[in-house]
Amino acid sequence: MGLITEKLPKMMAGMPGSDIIFTRMDAVINWARANSLWPLTFGTSCCAIEMMMAPGASRHDLARFGAEVARPSPRQADMLILAGTIVKRMAPRLRTLYEQMPEPRYVIATGACTISGGPFIYHSYSTVRGADTIIPVDVYVPGCPPRPEGLLYGLLTLQKMIRSGETVREPGIRHKPVTSETPEGITIEDIKSEMLALLEKDAVVDVRKAAEQMERPTGI
């Protein structure tokens, strides 16, 4: 992939018709990426049971989305499903695991604890308030824990992002679709348009830049 994603864009930069080729290539590459996500088995607490339920067990099968092989090693995984609370002591290990994963890597945060600290957000001296203070997170699945279908929905949301996601010419820049859920029955139009405008401005997130700028949490 290094040849296609790194060298080819430079070689073909000024060639006529390269736009069409790149767009085709993007579609193929993103299709392949979206349909072969291998999750890393990373479960710390309660959400891990529901996460085991979703990919591994018999009733909800992640293999139907091309994500069947849960890998114990970060080197072979491209999706990190954060299932469970992250505490200060685990945070550097999580960062290491994330850094060991090959690009492109995707992160799903499931459950209240991972998204924000959840029930341990206040009065706790050790719980990290949100995994996104340690690593960049692509999709948030709320719930405590989210049911396996909810996690599958999160995976589908991630696939949607990947399909419309990175382009060969701008690697690392992820185009997130505006919102996965448009609220129904909006009565005041300006609230909506204002909100959507806000979201649109924020839609392009430079993940690499964000990761570089991110400092290690204090107290570790």
């Binding site: 607490s45 309660c46 049971i49 609370t85 341990f120």
Partner: protein, 386 residues
Amino acid sequence: MNVHVSTLDEKTRSSLAIESHSETEEYFINMGPQHPSTHGVLRLILKLDGETVREVIPVLGYIHRSIEKISEYSTYRQIVHLTDRMDYLSAIMNNWAVARTVEKAAEIETNERIESIRTIVSELERIHSHQLGWGVLGMDMGAFTPFLYGFRDREMITDILEETIGARLTMNYIQPGGVMFDIHPDFVRKVKEYLAYFKPKLDEYEDLLSGNPILQQRLRNVGIMDAETALSMGATGPVLRASRVPYDLRKIEPYGMYGEVEFRVAIGTAGDCWDRYYVRIEEMRQSMRIIEQLIDNIPEGKFLLKKPAAKLTIPEGRHYSQIETARGVLGFYIVSEGKETPYRAYFRTPNFHNLWSLTAMAPGGRVGDLVAIISSLDLVIPDIDR
């Protein structure tokens, strides 16, 4: 007086300096905190001689969420919801431990209907916890099918509980003074259907896994712990009962409806992994027996005696009571000053005490046996770290 406080670094170094058991060189390897067979974020530092384990140094705290500190700022009703997240596979029983302590301390009465419902859902939860333990043990021993079967049957219990309670894992169901919802109209029928379904399935489990000579070879005479060591190590639950100590709070200090139903305490003979494995299988049978006796005659009555007022205070003093969860004795100790929030709340969790016995069982065995021992302890790591 001079007390030396050491560090992990010092501990490993001094451990190596102790005279070697053999002529070969001993070395450390690190297992976890991200390892598929430690069932979570448990980290073990193993001192090995070849493949023989000489010493196990568990390192905890990778999921220490300071539940006890948060409890000091929470009302008693709010503490119930924190206990869901300790041993999430026996969440209802954890709720019960808090509810029971608070009820005992504040002298809140309950009725027979409440106790029956509590007993039935707790036993259902115990079955599904053991099913998961069985499946994961199979997977750790190299058989993937038990994992699928265990989860398939566990999911059915989750469905039954979900219909009544509304949650799949973190239930927050048993409240001081009652339960949160009345049982669903379909509950009794579905539980009976499930028992009829699961009884032959349990025999199938035995055919599939218990009868397997490879599994027996890997579990029997591995990780032996005698009764005296187990008691000194503070082990409880199936781990202690496998060492031939019939210490089961459901029998010894009956609570709920356990005093009025017939069941037997499953015990082992040698205290090895096989006994711990089989005690769980047998406990599923006994749990089904308990449910069968209770399900047909749940008494009429209210399911929540008091509308949950915002304020619930406990008289000043020290209060303790304990519950037999799927993994052992869960005790809840409150020091109260007569306010809405406890002055100090302490959870005596079963896994914390069970894990310690690993340091007595593992030395002398192989690394492969260590995996078997960890599986047979059926650990839930957040319950250790709290």
